[in-house]
């Protein structure tokens, strides 16, 4: 951002020699001020104006529209008839007597609004894949606010086709410039030994996402680092949701209603992160009758229970998972897998009336594991997440405005232990509030809101400095995000005013997403996304290990600029055959002012940090085949990530050049078979040159004659070598049995069926290689109510 009109509620952007300015001038013209508003007073003033413009927008769109007075509004809530779960993304179509069609889809929380409806008689159709459509005839009068709620019944006749239909819906929701909405059905189609489908397994199979393998608990999006991703669960921030065994996360499919996944290029309602967003909305629980499930498999045991607290109005859903692999592995595969992890989730949801509902959610996760392999000295890592929050949805009685208020607190602790002693720790916690509004204009929508976030970080990087460093940061601002759906073109421009008061800086972040369907190729679409992003939080980790799991979270140094990234994504996709869908997406993510520890230095509080620039680019391919008996998914990504510091250019540890994924699922009578194969080319690591007795010279009187020194590793050039490639094949076969009102599923499976030794880490002191998960057979049993 090159200039900001303090008195004009506008801004200017400069692209080389071209300057674009736009805004609303409310006060006499004033000179353009400096690029950054450096005083908190200015920022406060600007925030007040941001809020003012939002209020003005609301007033403009909702009150000062005398011409709208003749129009009617149709609104309502769409739920699943079996359990009163709100349905997000259901289609609402209104057809007038003369055949004119207008429509919308339900928002988060199942609410919808159709505004600017001329008086008359209409046929209304509310539909969602897998459900019987709700069809009715309604008559609306001048200025009437009509409520049409719908409870959609599950369509038994579609049961056999749900898989295919689900895929069709996914096709409609094909990755649009990095964005896709995932539902539990999608997750359950990813083969996973253990009958516990999980969002992270789906992400592993998605273009743009990668992990270091099946250990470690970290996920990378298009060249970004794990800390550059925003994970939300019902609006609550979850700092590190992926479990230490990377097949699982805090997001099991059993609790998910849907997930919005952005592999970059995300809209203005999200911010504070440089790479991707995973926004998970959970199920509300069954409001009709008690339901639940129990799963037992070698990896973990899981239980879910949900029940109405007040029938049709208030429900509770609770889920718990606990790893079993640490106890099972020695007997099952004669090998120690010293990992323990689990998560607890509980949510209460209540319909307050026909146009508002609220929920309260709590989540806890824990992870612990010894990463030392066969070394005599244990090297444990452990972390935990906690998040508590509430969310309130409100559909204004007389206005086509949806309001969503979210308040949450989150916490994340991580510790590294050597021989049971904590040697490094990091604690992060934060309080967050967000007020979002959506003004619904039929096919088009305007979303706007304000947000505030306060965080505390404390960490220590040696035994004697645990918790020594403590820092606080605040963030706040506002956003406006529009969606205009035209016949061929869908535009989603947005702006985010993101301020960092603790740094005395405010940034304007423009965002743009779009999709275009050419008239001559209705089954194909082009999509693109662009945006500017800022993130004040950085991760401090040690570059000298093959795979480092520990990261201390910290604000970026005060004297350095706030890290910033720009995303450019362009894609093309289509459906050349009824059963074949493909997409191609190119991306470029450029980030600057990133901070990393001086390469080769041990991670301590006195470690020097250096700024680097990141350039990440690549192309992702995805192809999906959906037939009645089988489906197949294949993705391939080729990418390159490069960091440039003042003195050198290198490829960071997340620079995976090639990633390939293939899965095939088939159903035969009541049996289902599936297998998947994942391949990832080798990641960079820092090799060593050898060992010496290191003499720590701290003062001039040092005696070189008698000091033994301490045994130390001499490292070679950072990230100058690459690990061997990662690949793994998993297979599953399952059969479901009906038992009264329940379904019993038995699954036989195997992870890493050809027992590939994929490297995870290397213990330099004992020269021991530590591999990822070996061949693990699995027998899983799940009982769940229907």
């Amino acid at each position: 951002m090159k200039g900001f009109h303090q008195r004009s509620l506008g801004f200017s952007y400069r692209f080389g020699k071209v300057c674009i300015r736009f805004g609303i001038r409310l006060f006499p013209r004033a000179p353009i001020t400096s690029p950054r508003l450096t005083s908190s007073k200015s920022i406060q003033s600007l925030l007040v104006r941001c809020v003012a413009i939002l209020v003005l927008s609301i007033v403009h769109f909702t009150v000062i529209q005398p011409a709208d007075a003749q129009f009617a509004t149709v609104r309502g809530l769409i739920v699943d008839a079996s359990d009163e779960q709100p349905i997000h993304g259901a289609n609402v179509a209104l057809r007038s007597e003369d055949g004119q069609l207008t429509g919308t889809s339900s928002q988060a929380g199942g609410l919808y609004v159709l505004s600017r409806i001329m008086p008359g008689t209409y046929s209304i159709t509310i539909s969602f894949v897998g459900y019987i459509s709700h069809v009715d005839t309604i008559t609306v009068d001048f200025a009437q606010q009509l409520t049409v709620n719908a409870s959609l019944e599950f369509d038994e006749a579609q049961m056999g086709d749900v898989v295919v239909e689900s895929e069709r819906r996914e096709t409609q929701q094909r990755s649009i410039a990095g964005f896709v909405t995932i539902r539990p059905n999608d997750l359950e189609r990813v083969p996973q030994p253990g009958l516990s489908a999980d969002l992270v397994s789906y992400l592993n199979a998605s273009p743009g996402f990668q992990t270091a393998g099946d250990r470690g608990g970290q996920i990378f999006v298009r060249g970004g680092t794990p800390i550059q991703n925003l994970f939300l669960l019902d609006g609550m921030r979850v700092y590190q949701p992926v479990h230490i065994v990377g097949l699982y996360s805090a997001f099991p499919s059993e609790i998910i209603s849907y997930s919005d996944i952005y592999a970059g290029g995300y809209g203005a309602r999200y911010g504070g992160r440089l790479a991707g967003v995973i926004d998970v909305t959970t199920r509300n629980g069954n409001k009709k009758r008690p339901a639940g499930s129990v799963t037992v498999a070698p990896f973990l045991g899981a239980a879910r229970v949900e029940f109405p607290l007040v029938k049709d109005k208030v429900s509770v859903v609770a889920s718990g998972r606990e790893s079993l692999i640490r106890d099972v592995a020695p007997n099952l595969i004669d090998e120690s897998l010293p990992f323990r992890f689990g998560d607890r989730f509980v949510k209460m949801h209540a319909f307050l009336n026909q146009t508002s509902h609220m929920s309260v959610t709590a989540l806890k996760t824990f992870d612990e594991g010894d990463l030392a392999g066969n070394s005599q000295i244990s090297r444990n890592i452990r972390w935990s997440n906690e998040a508590y929050g509430g969310r309130f949805h409100y559909l204004a009685p007389t206005l086509p405005v949806l309001a969503q208020i979210t308040i949450s607190i989150s916490r994340f602790d991580i510790e590294r232990l050597v021989d049971q002693e904590v040697v490094q720790n990091s604690k992060s916690s934060g309080f967050e509030g967000q007020f979002n509004f959506a003004y619904l204009l039929g096919d088009s929508e305007i979303h706007f809101g304000i947000f505030g976030h306060s965080s505390r970080f404390s960490y220590g990087l040696t035994t004697s400095t645990l918790d020594d460093r403590e820092e606080f940061i605040t963030q706040g601002g506002a956003f406006i995000d529009g969606i205009a759906r035209m016949k061929r073109l869908e535009l989603n421009p947005g702006f985010r005013f993101h301020s960092f008061p603790s740094r005395g800086q405010l940034f304007m972040e423009p965002r743009l997403r779009m999709r275009y369907r050419p008239a001559s190729m209705p089954d194909y679409s082009f999509s693109a996304a662009w945006g500017i992003f800022h993130q004040q939080i950085v991760a401090l980790s040690d570059d000298r290990t093959v795979s480092d799991v520990f990261s201390a979270w910290s604000p970026s140094p005060q004297q350095r600029p706030v890290p910033r990234s720009a995303h450019y994504i362009a894609g093309f996709g289509g459906k050349p055959l009824p059963w074949f869908d493909f997409s191609v997406e190119g991306f470029m993510l450029q980030a600057k002012h990133l901070i990393i520890p001086q390469l080769g230095e041990p991670l301590t509080l006195s470690t020097q940090f250096i700024p680097v620039r990141s350039d990440s680019k690549g192309i992702d391919f995805k192809a999906v085949v959906s037939r009645s008996r089988y489906f197949a998914t294949s993705t391939y990504s080729v990418s390159r990530v490069e960091y440039t510091s003042a003195t050198q250019t290198f490829n960071p540890p997340q620079d995976r050049r090639h990633q390939f994924y293939f899965s095939l699922g088939s159903s035969f009578r009541d049996f289902k078979f599936a297998f998947q194969w994942q391949y990832g080319s080798g990641l960079p690591y820092t090799p060593i040159r050898g060992f010496i007795n290191q003499i720590e010279v701290t003062e001039r009187s040092y005696d070189f004659v008698d000091d033994d020194g301490s045994r130390a590793i001499v490292y070679a050039e950072s990230f100058s070598e690459r690990q061997p490639a990662f690949h793994r094949m998993d297979v599953t076969a399952e059969k479901a049995f009906r038992l009264w009102q329940s379904e019993l599923t038995v699954q036989l499976g195997a992870l890493n069926i050809y027992n590939r030794s994929n490297i995870f880490d290397y213990d330099y002191f004992s020269l021991t290689r530590i591999n990822q998960l070996p061949f693990i057979p699995s027998l899983g049993i799940r009982l769940r109510t229907l």
Binding site: Y636, F691, F704, P724
Partner: protein, 280 residues
């Protein structure tokens, strides 16, 4: 189109299989040669210089061979004089052995020295240091100053980028005007104030306040008027740049230098009288 897609897929899969079969992993960098580590520093204030040299090992527990034949030479780059340092093998507490090289050549300030170690396999390692030289400083007249009514004297060190390792003001006094000279050392390093305009430091010597310390060290009351102040001196030690952070990140070598210097001066009799010192 379909054939192209099939062929491309096949090529990719074959490529993945070929690269995927490779599973070896070595922690060591590919280009491995004999690597020597040098640890030590030249100290202009001592008679013998010691430097420890080791060949880095392949295993953490490996013990250095007794038969390693190493040679180390020290070159004065200003005079081109070369000195072969003498080897001695020392045993360390954990069973490890190290080569300790020494020499007794005098080390001089403002000189550049280069040390080169050569291993039995022909591997070499070289490090270089510049021994810090005497620094010039300006000394103003002692004044009864700054409204305190107490004598102070300001020393100005222009173009001094880094704070010296130590800075002491030393008072040489005679108790009751007779007997041996007694040195009273008062640390001043932390009182050096960085002055950006001169790219250096300033130091205000608190002469009258220090007199109380001197008398206290001598065990005399403040009223004592028989102590003779022979002279005031500044003793400072300088370290070469290699001591500064960031240190060698590879933890392989450390080679630096250090030197100390003394500057003496006397105070006018009128000042000594005013402060309460006796005149010899």
């Amino acid at each position: 189109m379909r054939e192209i897609a099939v062929r491309a897929t096949l090529i990719c899969v074959i490529g993945f299989i070929i690269t995927g079969c490779e599973n070896s992993f070595t922690p060591f960098a590919e280009k491995r040669v004999e690597i020597l580590s040098i640890n030590g520093f030249l100290d202009a204030d001592v008679d013998t210089q010691f430097v420890r040299v080791a060949i880095i090992r392949n295993e953490i527990e490996q013990v250095a061979s007794l038969n390693d034949s190493l040679s180390v030479e020290l070159r004065d780059l200003n005079t081109a004089a070369v000195t072969a340092m003498t080897d001695s093998l020392v045993s360390l507490g954990d069973g490890e052995r190290a080569h300790l090289f020494f020499t007794d050549i005098p080390i001089l300030g403002d000189r550049d020295y280069r040390i080169t170690a050569t291993g039995p396999g022909g591997g070499t390692s070289a490090q270089q240091t510049t021994v810090p030289g005497r620094i010039a400083f300006a000394r103003n007249t002692a004044t009864n100053g700054q409204g305190t009514g107490q004598y102070v004297q300001t020393l100005t060190f222009a173009n001094l980028p880094l704070r010296p390792e130590s800075v002491d003001v030393v008072y040489t006094v005679l108790r009751n005007g007779t007997g041996d000279a007694i040195r009273v050392v008062i640390p001043y390093r932390d009182l050096m104030v960085q002055v950006p305009t001169i790219s250096g430091y300033q130091l205000t010597v608190r002469l009258e306040q220090d007199r109380i310390t001197v008398l206290s060290v001598l065990g005399l009351p403040i009223e004592n008027g028989t102590t003779v102040l022979q002279n005031v001196s500044l003793e400072y030690a300088l370290l070469s740049d290699e001591w500064r952070i960031p240190r060698n990140p590879n933890r392989l070598d450390f080679f630096a230098s250090a030197a100390s210097y003394v500057e003496e001066w006397t105070l006018p009799e009128s000042v000594l009288d005013d402060m309460g010192y006796a005149t010899p």
